[in-house]
Each structure stands twice: as structure tokens, then as C-alpha cells.
């Protein structure tokens, strides 16, 4: 595969921070869906966001693109490098100008992310011309660039592929097109929401490789959302663990996955570690299921399923750690007995 070349665009060079989310809080109707979510991503950094369905991870990604429903109450702040204003409370026109240029997204379902009535080359070219400004709306150049991008994401015969309609491509090829669209304007932040969940194992491997190479070549920040712990471990350097609309643990991948501190992280790792359990034997489980929105307990959100919960867990655990990107929020953390 060719090296994914990127044109560098002048960006705010004073800091390497690309995304800074502070105290993000989302309410929808009577449901408090995100609580005080705080994290940041630096240039060239790959951060994983893990959690089960209903944990709020997809909601977080939608908030980053300003795609939350209109009746959602959002507070806190989301700052993106190269954008002069806060994304929270920004006008739709301003957000539209940012989407696809400064921040781009790859969704789970490549078929629905593409327009079925439009040739894929035109769809790539479209996102280039939309953000090109008045001077750069050269359709021919955009189309040539689209073919170039399709070549970069490893589509065979990119010239022919550009003239194909989405249904003429396989699932993996479609997801490559979606990645090409996302990377077309060299965004400073790429958000991937379960980008390979619908794909086969061997296709997933190639798409993951493609995403990692794409962001590395552009020195872009990556927020990778998935429920698959081993995918996060493979792709990312840092990880945020979400449960009940909160970040319950954060830190470097190797640290968090080797020595989880929050009991939820610990349970999740144990339940997914099929290699260690005896073949055909019992797996460690987390009891119960993820509560639906609005039915998480107060205090520690995990206490209704936690084997270590005590009275103190009815109060909200404070964040223990040097910074929001490194630490956990648990009254009875794993490994505490070792440390003391």
C-alpha cells in the first residue's frame, strides 16, 4: 500500500492539543445521559473509548460533531484546534463548516454512510469541494484528488472504483471509501464509531491498518470508539472506559489493560478474556445487564452490578489520578491491596 501522503494545512502550532473536552454534560428529556465527561487528545495520539451499549460512548462522538438532537441540553465545552469557538452552543452553519474539514467521522455501517444513488468518486470529490472555499472549487481537480484518495485507501483500480455505486462494492471496500471521505480534507481529528464491527475479521484487520496509517501520515488525532477491547488494545495508545455516561477510568492502554483499577474495567477485561479461561469452563461474568438510560444508580454508577460495592458507594467516587486522562473513579479499586 502506498504511503498515505497528506498536505499539511496551517494549524494552531502553539499547542499540540487537538481536542479538549471539559465537563461535557448531556440531558435528553428527563434522562441525564452524559455526566461531566472530560478528556483531551493530542496531535498524532490514538485514544480508544470503550464501553458496552448504553454507556454513552456513541453519544460522546455525536456531541463532538455537534450532531446531538436539537432538544438535547448540552453544557460544558468542546474545543477543537484551529476552531476559534466552542463547539457546544455553536450555530449549525459553523458546525457544518467544521465537519468534514477539522473533524471527520467514520460510522459503523458503511452502506448507510454512503449515498446509494451517487458514484463513490463524486462523493469523495463532494466533500473536497464543499470545504475548498471559493477559489478551490475546481471540480476536475477534486475528482482527480478523489481518485488519488481512493488509491491511497487501497481500492484496486481506483479509476474504475470512483465510477462505481456503493452497492457495487463489498462491505470492506465501502468502509475504505468512507475512510477516504473522512480523510479527504486532512482533518485534525478523526472519530471512528465501531468502524469495523460489521466487517469480517480479515477485512477488519486491513481497515484498522488503513485507519492507523491514515491518521499517522496526517499526524491527526484519533478517537476510536468500540466495545471490542482487543481492537482498542491493538489500535490505541490511550483508553477511556465509559459506563453509565461517565468516564470511569482512563490511562495508557497497557497500564489500564494490565492493571485495571476500576471494578468495571476489571470485570469487562475478565469477561472478555476467553484465552485464560479453561476451554469449555466457566467465564468470569459481571452480574446483570447494563441498565437502560436513566436507570443507573446514583453515587457510583456501577454499584448495582459490582461485587465490591459497600455503603460508601452510594456517594459519587472522586477521580483518583494525576489528571483527567489518567486515573479512575472507584471507592474500592482493584489492586489497592497490592499498593498499600
Amino acid at each position: 500500500m502506498s504511503v498515505l501522503a497528506a498536505e499539511t494545512r496551517p494549524k494552531d502550532a502553539s499547542t499540540s492539543r487537538v481536542l479538549d473536552v471539559q465537563g461535557l454534560d448531556v440531558r435528553l428529556g428527563r434522562f441525564h445521559l452524559l455526566h461531566d465527561v472530560t478528556f483531551s487528545i493530542d496531535r498524532g495520539e490514538r485514544v480508544g473509548l470503550i464501553g458496552e451499549s448504553g454507556s454513552g460512548k456513541s453519544l460522546t462522538s455525536l456531541a463532538l460533531l455537534g450532531l446531538l438532537p436539537d432538544d438535547a441540553h448540552v453544557s460544558g465545552s468542546i474545543r477543537l484546534a484551529g476552531v476559534g469557538h466552542d463547539l457546544v452552543g455553536a450555530r449549525e452553519r459553523d458546525l457544518a463548516a467544521i465537519r468534514g474539514r477539522d473533524v471527520a467521522m467514520v460510522f459503523q455501517e458503511p452502506m448507510t454512510a454512503l449515498n446509494p444513488t451517487m458514484r463513490v468518486g463524486d462523493q469523495v470529490a463532494e466533500v473536497i469541494t464543499i470545504h475548498a472555499g471559493r477559489g478551490g472549487r475546481d471540480k476536475r481537480a477534486a475528482r482527480a484528488r478523489a481518485v488519488e484518495l481512493l488509491d491511497q485507501v487501497g481500492l484496486p483500480d481506483p479509476g474504475d472504483a470512483a465510477r462505481a455505486y456503493p452497492h457495487q462494492l463489498s462491505g470492506g471496500q465501502r468502509q475504505r471509501v468512507v475512510v477516504a471521505i473522512a480523510l479527504a480534507n486532512d482533518p485534525s481529528l478523526l472519530v471512528c464509531d465501531e468502524p469495523t464491527t460489521a466487517l469480517d475479521v480479515t477485512v477488519q484487520a486491513r481497515v484498522l491498518d488503513l485507519i492507523v496509517r491514515g491518521v499517522s501520515a496526517r499526524d491527526a488525532a484519533l478517537l476510536f470508539i468500540t466495545h471490542d477491547l482487543s481492537v482498542v488494545a491493538t489500535v490505541c495508545e490511550r483508553v477511556l472506559v465509559m459506563y453509565g455516561g461517565r468516564v470511569v477510568e482512563a490511562g495508557p492502554v497497557t497500564e489500564v489493560f494490565r492493571r485495571p483499577r476500576h471494578r468495571y474495567t476489571q470485570g469487562l477485561l475478565a469477561a472478555s478474556d476467553l484465552d485464560s479461561a479453561a476451554a469449555g469452563g466457566r467465564l468470569p461474568t459481571i452480574r446483570g445487564t447494563v441498565p437502560s438510560a436513566g436507570t443507573f444508580p446514583d453515587g457510583c454508577v456501577f454499584r448495582s452490578r459490582c461485587d465490591h460495592a459497600t455503603e460508601v458507594c452510594a456517594t459519587e467516587p472522586a477521580w483518583a489520578g494525576p489528571d483527567p486522562g489518567n486515573g479512575f473513579a472507584c471507592h474500592h479499586p482493584a489492586g489497592a491491596e497490592r499498593a498499600s
Binding site: 500500500m1 458496552e52 451499549s53 462491505g171 469480517d200 475479521v201 480479515t202 477485512v203 477488519q204 484487520a205 486491513r206 484498522l208 491498518d209 485507519i211 492507523v212 496509517r213 466495545h227 471490542d228 477491547l229 482487543s230 481492537v231 488494545a233 491493538t234 489500535v235 492502554v253 497497557t254 489493560f257 494490565r258 470485570g267 469487562l268 477485561l269 469477561a271 472478555s272 478474556d273 476467553l274 484465552d275 479461561a277 476451554a279 469449555g280 469452563g281 466457566r282 467465564l283 468470569p284 461474568t285 459481571i286 445487564t289 447494563v290
Partner: protein, 276 residues
């Protein structure tokens, strides 16, 4: 030698796709290109493959829900393939299925009690009420669950209902088609435990189809790897995972992300392996 639970000999299945051109008939797709294997009684047998490899077609043929183009399926020594539905009564009581989608495999308009009792009604088995309560308890749901509708349950609970239905006619063989692929990680472990417990307690033969190698490795004793309508490799799970022979199996194993390898420093590029 005792008769195997399932015996498949040179199974082929061709489909004709709907025509896309006015002049030519639709293309013929060969979903199975001569598949043969045997599953011993009481064995936990895994079938691994990616989408389009023919594993779903194979499942339907094993369950007598579709007819092969050629070849033969035998279940407990009796031929299944080529028989009309009326003569498949023995198969309906000895072999049952659990599907992937815990919502799609339960009729949204039926109460759980009627869903679980369906095989009993269809096969005119007695004591339905007591049997349903017993089954719901066996899969870890209270008897009150019977009054509810599927949408009132979470994904993991729905899969338990599906398992209860499959066990209703006391089958000796359970076919599970991706039973945990749609479930969250923490619930997946619960359902896998339930399946392995029940298979052990009831002495069932399990055929477990999955794309997830780690799940198959955990559950199954023997594995068949399918690719493009063919079984490319069969063997003991340990042996196949430790020393895969076929290039496709090797590629599949390498492509599956693993926590252990990742923590040891493997990145996305390592999943792809050969520079293609």
C-alpha cells in the same frame, strides 16, 4: 463404532441469483462446494468462517430447512436431506437451533410462554405448562417471564428465551448460529456459561458456528474452518490454534485482534501480516 451425531458427505448447494439482465438468467452461486465432516455424539464442534463462506447455508441444510443440490446429511444415522417436511419429525425433536439475532428470532407478537412452548405444541408433546416453567428456570429466567413479550427483555435475556425454546423438545443436538455475536461483552460471558453448562449437564452435541475465533476456541473441542464454500481445515481446537496448516486459517488467526498480542506491542499492521 457408534453412529455419529451428524454426518455430512460431499454436500453441495447451488443458488441462482435473481436475474440482473433481460437477456441472461441470473448467475449461479455455489454456496457449498462439497463439504464433508462428522460430529461425534456429545462433541462440541465449531464451524469458523467469514461472511459468505457458506456456514449459514450449511446450518440450514443440517437443520433440514433447505435441500442440498447434491450430497447427504445424516443425523443420528438417519438421512435428512431430500426428505419432505412430513418425514422430518425425528429431526425436529432431536435437533434444535439458536440464532444470532436475539430479537429477530423471537416473534414480537407472541408471549414468551408461547414462544418457548412452540416446539411442544408443534410436536404435540404433553405437560406444556410445567415444561415451560422448568425451561425458563433452567435458563435463569423466573416463571413470570412467560407472561411478557420479547421486547421487554434485554439482548442477553432474549437469547436465554431462545435457548429455552431450543431445549423444549429435549433435543440431543443443539445448533448455535453466532449466538453471542450480538451481545455485549459482559453479557456474552453469561450466555456462553449458560450454553456450556447446559450442554454439559444435558449431554448435548453442540455445533457452534461463529466468526469469532476466541469464542470458538473457548467453547469447542474440534473445529472446521470454512472458506468459500469449502472446509479447508478440520482438527482438534488446540492443534488448529497452535499450528494452523492451511494458509487461510493462518491468515484468519493473524487477523484476529488479541489482547495479549496487543499488550505485547502488536499494532494494526501486524494483523495484516503479508504486505498485500
Amino acid at each position: 463404532m457408534t453412529t455419529p451425531a451428524i454426518s455430512v458427505r460431499d454436500l453441495r448447494r447451488r443458488y441462482r441469483r435473481p436475474r440482473t439482465s433481460v437477456r441472461e438468467p441470473g448467475p449461479v452461486v455455489e454456496a457449498l462446494k462439497g463439504v464433508s465432516f462428522e460430529v461425534a455424539r456429545g462433541e462440541r464442534f465449531g464451524i469458523v468462517g467469514e461472511s459468505g463462506c457458506g456456514k449459514s447455508t450449511l446450518m440450514r441444510l443440517l437443520a433440514g430447512l433447505d435441500q442440498p443440490t447434491s450430497g447427504e446429511v445424516q443425523v443420528e444415522g438417519r438421512t435428512v436431506s431430500g426428505l419432505p417436511e412430513k418425514q422430518l419429525g425425528f429431526l425436529r425433536s432431536s435437533l434444535q437451533l439458536v440464532f444470532q439475532d436475539p430479537m429477530g428470532s423471537l416473534d414480537p407478537r407472541m408471549r414468551v410462554r408461547d414462544i418457548v412452548a412452540e416446539p411442544l405444541v408443534a410436536q404435540r408433546l404433553p405437560n406444556r405448562r410445567a415444561r415451560v416453567a422448568e425451561l425458563l428456570e433452567a435458563v435463569g429466567l423466573g416463571p413470570e417471564a412467560g407472561d411478557r413479550f420479547p421486547h421487554q427483555f434485554s439482548g442477553g435475556q432474549r437469547q436465554r428465551i431462545s435457548i429455552a425454546r431450543a431445549l423444549a423438545p429435549s433435543p440431543s443436538i443443539l445448533l448455535a448460529d453466532e449466538p453471542v455475536s450480538a451481545l455485549d461483552v459482559s453479557v456474552r460471558a453469561q450466555v456462553l456459561n449458560l450454553i456450556t453448562d447446559l450442554v454439559g449437564d444435558l449431554g448435548l452435541t453442540l455445533v457452534f458456528v461463529s466468526h469469532d475465533l476466541s469464542v470458538v476456541r473457548h467453547v469447542c473441542e474440534r473445529v472446521a474452518v470454512m472458506c468459500d464454500g469449502e472446509v479447508v481445515e478440520t482438527g482438534a481446537t488446540q492443534q488448529i490454534f497452535a499450528d494452523p496448516q492451511h494458509p487461510y486459517t493462518q491468515r484468519l488467526l493473524r487477523a484476529a485482534p488479541s489482547m495479549r498480542r496487543a499488550i505485547a506491542g502488536a499494532g494494526a499492521a501486524d494483523l495484516v501480516g503479508d504486505p498485500s
